[in-house]
């Protein structure tokens, strides 16, 4: 990692932390964007609390997606589950093609307002990348490696845990990263159904025609996305390097 990249990362992190903890320090920058003496900085709640609950729901939803997608991916690549592959593929695809806003519309009458419908939408939306990458990772393990593992007397569970999953890890991590980034953006619409999150800031800006608010919400989400993308990418590359793959292979 070059020094410049390191400095840029540190700067982005410092900017994010400073902005969500002490937003008033940045009022001067946003003031020109307001009209009619409207507040330059979001004043209907703590930015820090909103950011934390935004991240919290993304992490929880991604964790749940990861658990299900991983389990499903492993199941359909075992001899017993192979015939369920087409079915699980289409189910997971439906989760992705259904617009999250429509999921919210359906989920609210069922589970009520708040975090629950948002969680459901993010969970469904995050399944596909992790599932597809788990599948790709597990099916790409070289047949020779597996043959050698069987020939040395590894049973099915040992092959899965000691050979297949470690080898599929970089791709699975890439899937999780994709899912996290998609969820970070998508979680903003959760605020339309009263989930605590950075969407609130953006919606408040839209309602009061305050560009400064919209920009603040967007900025925090964008900084989060960049930093998480980057951090998860580092872990992936470390995992891939261990396997001797060129770093670029994991896009």
């Amino acid at each position: 990692m070059s020094t410049r990249a390191l400095i840029l990362r540190a700067a982005a992190l410092i900017l994010l932390v400073a902005f969500v903890t002490m937003p008033q320090l940045f009022a001067f920058a946003f003031a020109p964007l307001t009209a009619n003496n409207a507040p330059a900085i979001y004043n209907q709640g703590s930015l820090l609390a909103l950011t934390l609950s935004h991240v919290r729901i993304v992490v929880l939803a991604t964790l749940a997606s990861t658990l299900l997608a991983l389990a499903l991916g492993i199941f359909v690549t075992r001899p017993a589950g192979r015939e369920f592959l087409p079915l699980s593929r289409s189910l997971v695809n439906i989760g992705q093609t259904f617009p999250p806003i429509a999921v919210l519309a359906i989920a609210v009458p069922l589970v009520g307002f708040g975090e629950k419908p948002t969680f459901i939408a993010l969970f469904l939306y995050g399944l596909l990348p992790i599932f597809e990458n788990t599948l790709a990772g597990l099916t790409e393990v070289s047949p020779r490696t597996l043959e050698a593992a069987r020939g040395m007397g590894m049973n099915a569970r040992q092959r899965l845990w000691q050979v297949e999953l470690p080898l599929a890890l970089p791709l699975i991590l890439a899937g999780i990263r994709l899912s996290v980034i998609i969820s970070l953006g998508t979680a903003t619409i959760g605020s339309t159904v009263a989930a605590k999150g950075l969407g609130e800031v953006i919606i408040a800006g839209l309602q009061s025609n305050n560009v400064a608010f919209i920009l603040q919400g967007g900025l925090v989400v964008a900084l989060l996305a960049v930093l998480l993308h980057d951090g998860l990418g580092l872990i992936e590359r470390a995992a891939a390097r261990r396997l001797g793959r060129p770093v670029d292979e994991i896009a």
């Binding site: 490696t145 043959e147 069987r150 020939g151 040395m152 590894m154 470690p166 261990r242 396997l243 001797g244």
Partner: protein, 312 residues
């Protein structure tokens, strides 16, 4: 000792291995040779039950392998495949430790065994133990593959085209190394190849397969002088026959007393190599030296030719 009795494998109507029987003695190398699709690999994989036979059985030291749980059986049989199938996410040391770890050996015993094997295969533990497979050359990967198969001291080693992905220059060296290690450890080996030269170089006995059937199982010399079927003769190569025979006999057997001028030939060299030397240097005879370099006799073109004729 391993006894293969009437092994057959069918996939639908397709017979891949048809009633094959042979016995490999303790510490012997049996080479299964044949064209591709002859059923060689399937036969090998039935020995460690990666493929379940339709008929027949395999006995190892008198014990029917069908009575041993599959994984336990495979822990006891070394297995080397073409391309080696090293685990790319594990270091050389971890790769070699695979079976001992599955067997639950303690850490210190595993470490000692890994170091012993790296030494045996001329891989400096300090340099190679922590490397990953992708950091090794083809020849080094091959050695790690064999070391891994030998880690838990199996009495039997199965090898499926173990030299197939090596270039010709290092292949010969790898074969010699395998022979040396096999002679030292006394491991019984069943090796599959399509390379006739490899079969004659390594095999104590050679099993010739074609179209799922075992055509002949015999010593290399027998195979040359008494081929059971025209196909065996063809595979061995009629024109090659005398030279192959010469390659089975060492200088020791055709040495004559007396002196000769020129570069000495080592007594353990094959007659084929000796003849090549004589032709190349344009000489009728050359001195013979033992391992320490002392001259102990001479070898002549006439002597070799006489010996060659008496073999056929």
């Amino acid at each position: 000792m391993i006894e293969i009795e009437h092994l057959s494998k069918r996939y639908g109507d397709n017979i891949v291995v048809d009633d094959v029987s042979f016995t490999v003695g303790e510490g012997e190398i049996a080479v299964v040779v044949g064209t591709s699709g002859a059923g060689k690999s399937t036969l090998l994989r039935m020995i460690n039950r990666l493929v379940t036979p339709n008929e027949g059985r395999v006995l190892i030291d008198g014990q029917d392998t069908a009575t041993i749980p599959e994984d336990e059986l495979r822990h006891r049989i070394g297995y080397v495949i073409q391309g080696y199938g090293l685990f790319p996410h594990r270091t050389v040391a971890e790769n070699i430790a695979t079976v001992p770890r599955l067997l639950g050996w303690d850490r210190r015993r595993i470490a000692a065994r890994v170091e012993e094997l790296l030494d045996l295969f001329q891989l400096d533990p300090g340099e190679f133990a922590q490397k990953f497979p992708h950091q090794l050359s083809g020849g080094q990967q091959q050695r790690v593959g064999v070391a891994r198969a030998l880690a838990a001291k199996p009495a039997l080693l199965l090898m499926d085209e173990p030299f197939g992905s090596l270039d010709p220059v290092i292949r010969g060296k790898a074969q010699d190394d395998l022979l040396a290690i096999q002679r030292r450890l006394g491991t019984t080996i069943v090796l599959v190849t399509h390379d006739m030269n490899e079969a004659f170089h390594l095999g104590d006995r050679i099993a010739v397969m074609d179209g799922a059937r075992l055509l002949q199982y015999a010593t290399p010399a027998d195979l040359l002088t008494h081929p059971a079927e025209p196909f065996v003769e063809q595979l061995v190569g009629t024109a090659e026959r005398p030279f192959r025979l010469l390659s089975l006999v060492t200088v020791q057997d055709a040495m004559e007393p007396g002196h000769a001028e020129g570069e000495p030939i080592i007594v353990s060299a094959t007659l084929r190599d000796a003849l090549a030397q004589l032709i190349w240097h344009g000489r009728q005879d050359l001195p013979v030296a033992d391992a320490s370099g002392t001259l102990i006799g001479r070898i002549s073109v006439d002597g070799i030719l006489k010996r060659g004729r008496s073999l056929a």
